[in-house]
Structures are given as C-alpha cells and as structure tokens.
C-alpha cells in the first residue's frame, strides 16, 4: 500500500511539474503548450548526453538539462510562438502542436538519442537502490524526486513572490496593457516565462529519468497527464497544479495495480472530462477562479 503510494507520488511529481510548466506558460501567453511533454523527454535526453558523452554526474546533468531547457524555451518563444502570435492565439496553439511532431520525430534522429527509451544513472548512487521505510520497500530515487520537486517549488516561489523581476513577470502576465504602460517589455517577460516553463519540463524529465528511463514516444501522453493534473488541481493555481499531479499519479498507479493497463489509462484520461463537467475550477480552486 505505502509502496504504491510512493510510486504514485513519484510519477505524480513529474505530472505536477508538467502541469506547473503548462500553467506558467498559459499565464504568460494565454495558450496551452501541447509540447510540454516533448520538452520533458528532450530534457531527459540532454541529461543522458551530459552523462554519456560529457561524463558528468547526475547533478551536473540536471543543471545542464535545465539550462538547455531554458535556452530552448527562449528560442521556442522567439522563433516559433512570437511569429505565430501574429495570427492570434489559435495560431500559437497550433504552433505548439507542430512542435510536438518536430520534437517527437526530430529527437529520434539525434545521434545517441534514438527512439527507444534509455536508462539514466541515479542521483547520489545507482538508479536501483532501495530502502525499507515503515515496512515497505521504497526506491531511493523516489526520495530524490520528492526532494528535488520541493527544491524546484521553493526556488520558483521565491522567484515569483520575492524578487522584483518575478513580480514584473506576474504583472505582465496578468495585465500586459498595464505592464507596457509602465515600461515593462512584455515580449521579454513572456519569453522568460516560456523559458522557465520549458526549463521546468527539462528538470522534471531529468529527475524522474533514473526511474522511468528517458526518451521514447510518450511525450504527448505526458502532456495530457499534465493537463489532467492541471485541471484536477485548478489551472489557475500553481500549487493546485502540483497537487493535481500528485493526485493523478497516485490514482494512475492504484488503477494500474488493479486493472489491465489499457483500462487504467483511459480512466485517468476520463477524469479530465469529469472534472471539466463537475468542478472546472479544480479540486483546490475557487469557483470565481474560472474566467475568460
């Protein structure tokens, strides 16, 4: 039981980070980034390259993947989303769907990446170590995932709540007109928001890598799980997104332990529809948070 819970919270952490990335990008651009899961996959693969080719340990690989994600996110906003924005929000949404296919088929062509999932070493030791905890066997890497999730949330919280630039980004996301009229360059804050969202995807893809393998074609399924998480927790609330991810992860693992895989997953997806009908503000959101 505890073992299943830990396993659920582990995958749930990844869903939560994907949901949070979707939330940050949505706030800044008013568009859902359907490529969020693909960027998670690419982030894990960058970490793989850091380990295999550059012979770095997982900590440096994590830093490398996160920075690469940030740079990739900046380029994604400036080269793809911004020009697509001239045709309106629908154009931007379609551009993110286009990016799904470019990243999905593109990453398989990169030497050393390929289309099959590959293992990553663990943080602070081999990927397979486990410990006894309250009578259950728990993977050490799960504990690292939780610690790294909390670290990321703390850094983001401090950035958005305590720093001047973080507040400027929130201001520009909330009211671009008001922001421009006090001299905030809304194009720049939007690019940084997208970059942060993609960096978070790469970070999430790397911290879960030792457990789930990296690479492969599961990126779009990750996006949808992240989106379910965001809807479950409340798209408007960053904490709700993470909590929603944990809920979805636990739900999925429990269902998979009782039901065949091809029945469990559709049930998880249908949670999306049920939530949209019954509680569009999410489990943790307030009703007045549903707007636009």
């Amino acid at each position: 039981m505890l073992q299943l819970l830990v396993a659920g919270l582990t995958v749930g952490s990844e869903y939560g980070l994907i949901a949070l990335g979707i939330h940050i990008i949505l706030r800044a651009t008013r568009v859902v980034n359907f490529a969020q899961g693909e960027f998670t996959i690419v982030g894990g693969l960058v970490a793989l390259t850091c380990v295999d080719v550059l012979h770095l340990n997982m900590w440096f690989a994590l830093a490398g993947a996160t920075l690469a994600g940030f740079a990739l996110g900046l380029a994604f906003e400036i080269v793809v989303l911004r020009p697509a924005g001239r045709t309106g929000e629908a154009g931007v949404t379609i551009a993110t769907i286009g990016a799904v296919f470019v990243l999905l088929y593109g990453h398989a062509l990169v030497p050393g990446w390929g289309s099959n999932p590959q293992p990553l070493p663990g943080f602070g030791g081999p990927a397979t170590g486990s410990v006894e905890l309250a009578g259950a066997t728990v993977q050490v890497q799960s504990l690292w995932v939780f610690a790294l999730l909390i670290a990321a949330l703390a850094v983001l919280y401090l950035f958005f709540e305590r720093t001047y630039f973080g507040k400027a980004i929130r201001a520009a996301a909330e009211n671009p007109l008001g922001a421009r009229l006090i001299g905030i360059d809304v194009n720049s804050t939007r690019a940084v928001s997208v970059a942060l969202g993609i960096a978070l995807a790469a970070y999430g893809g790397t911290i879960i890598g030792p457990i789930t393998l990296v690479g492969g074609a599961a990126g779009f399924a990750l996006t949808i799980k992240g989106f379910v998480a965001a809807i479950v927790g409340g798209l408007e609330s960053p904490i709700g997104c993470v909590a929603g991810g944990l809920v979805v992860g636990v739900l999925q693992v429990f269902l998979q332990s009782r039901l065949p895989y091809d029945i469990a997953d559709p049930i998880v997806y249908s949670v999306l529809l049920v939530m949209l009908l019954v509680r569009p503000q999410g489990l943790f959101g307030r009703r007045d948070a549903v707007r636009d």
């Binding site: 001047y164 909330e174 009211n175 922001a179 009229l181 006090i182 001299g183």
Partner: protein, 243 residues
C-alpha cells in the same frame, strides 16, 4: 516674452487602426506645469490620441509627436516611459492580484535600480488611504482607491507628463473632486497633466487649457475660461447642465 518650448508637441497627427482612420490632423501642445484637458464625445479619438502618444497600438500615418525634444515616431512604449511620458489608461489596468505596494514598486520598473523608498513614501503621503492597504491585493480597493493607485503607480516612474484617460469613470462626485484637486496640485509642482474626460464642465474648472476633439479633429481649443463661456461648448457638451 518668449514662452518655453512645449514639453509635448503633437503636430498634424493622423493615426488609426488597420484601415480605420481615427485621428485626422490633430495639433496639440502641453507645457511643463500645465493642466490640459481633452474633451469630446465618445468615439472622437481621445483614447487613440493618448495611445498614439504612448506608442501603444495605434498606427501613426503622418504628422509628428515630439516629447521633451525627442521625436516619438520610432519610439517604443518603453522608451516613452523612460523619457517620462506616462499614461494612466482607461480602466486603470492595475495588477489586481499583486499588493498595493508591489503595484507601486513596479511603477518604477524603468528606474528599478534606484532606491524607491523616497518616492514610495511620497505616494503614500499624497494618497493616504493607500498607506493603510499596502499589503492588500489591488482588486480589494474601492474604485477611488484604485484610481489613486493607478496614478501613484505612474508617479513612481517620475513622469514629466502624466496622461489620464477618463479618470472619473465610475467614481462618486466627491472622489472625482479629490482626484482633480490632486491633479491640480501635481501640475503646480511642475508635472504636466493631460486629462481626457467626457465630463466637460468639471474638467474645465480645473484645467488651464482645453482641446475639444470631434471626429478625429480639434474642433475647438482655448483657455479653460474661454471654453467655459463658449456657446458651442455649452450647447454641445454641457446640455445646459451645470452639475
């Protein structure tokens, strides 16, 4: 007697959106320390004029906007703010979820490396009701307080010119009086003000000069007292009311 060069000079300005021409030859100037009003009916192009000056979204077709000696034709909105040309737009456009304090501090975005404490306390002194609400999110303020916050946020950028777009909308008459008193005080202390209003009589009582915009052109211009006596202004805008 040579008059000082105007802080803001708008000359033969034509501007619009896409294929739509809104401003069709507007001439206007504002000097340091002046309170200038722009009056006119709905749709006359008053907001478009301010949005053109702020280089926000209207397309300039011809003519010139010169602020503090700088031609704004190629300027970005950010540059106009850096030059000291600030606008408090229609609807205030506050950061509703951020605190009063954060809204004000962000107003100084273009000079964020400077110490903001002196300006911040000056704003809280001028707008006493805001001081009690420093930590509250902006959306919890009353309409009048929100307008004060919007003006305070713009003041944090140390404007030479402050443009207000219909600041009286939705506010009780006493609150409007208070706002105009503050505007007059700002003008006396050297900040130029350009105020767009539909409420002509009230605005003329506080303004030094005024322009009446109609169909994208200046239909009338003069000192406030001239315009207040002008039969055409009375007929069109005051509708005989003296409220």
């Amino acid at each position: 007697m040579s008059r000082p060069r105007a802080l803001l000079e708008v000359r033969a300005l034509h501007a619009g959106y896409g294929a739509l021409d809104v401003l069709r030859g507007v001439d206007l100037e504002v000097r340091a320390g002046e309170l200038v009003a722009v009056l006119g009916p709905n749709g006359a192009g008053k907001s478009t004029l301010l949005r053109s000056i702020s280089r926000y979204d209207a397309t300039l077709r011809s003519g010139a906007i010169v602020f503090d000696g700088v031609d704004l034709a190629r300027a970005t909105t950010e540059r106009t703010v850096r030059l000291g040309c600030l606008q408090v737009p229609e609807g205030r456009q506050l950061f509703a979820r951020l605190s009063v304090d954060d809204n004000l501090r962000l107003g100084a975005f273009v000079r964020r490396r400077a110490s903001l404490d002196a300006e911040l306390s000056a704003v809280y002194e001028r707008f006493a009701p805001l001081a009690q609400r420093r930590g509250q999110p902006a959306f919890t303020l009353s309409g009048g307080e929100q307008q004060m916050l919007a003006i305070g946020r713009a003041l944090m950028a140390r404007p030479k010119l402050l443009m207000l777009d219909e600041p009286s909308t939705g506010l009780a008459p006493q609150v409007v009086e208070q706002l105009f008193a503050i505007a007059s005080e700002l003008a006396r202390s050297g900040t130029a003000l350009l105020i767009v209003e539909q409420n002509a009589y009230l605005t003329l009582r506080h303004a030094d000069r005024a322009y009446v915009l109609e169909g994208g052109r200046v239909a009338l211009a003069g000192t406030a007292s001239e315009l207040m006596r002008d039969e055409r202004v009375k007929a069109i805008y005051l509708g005989g009311s003296t409220a």
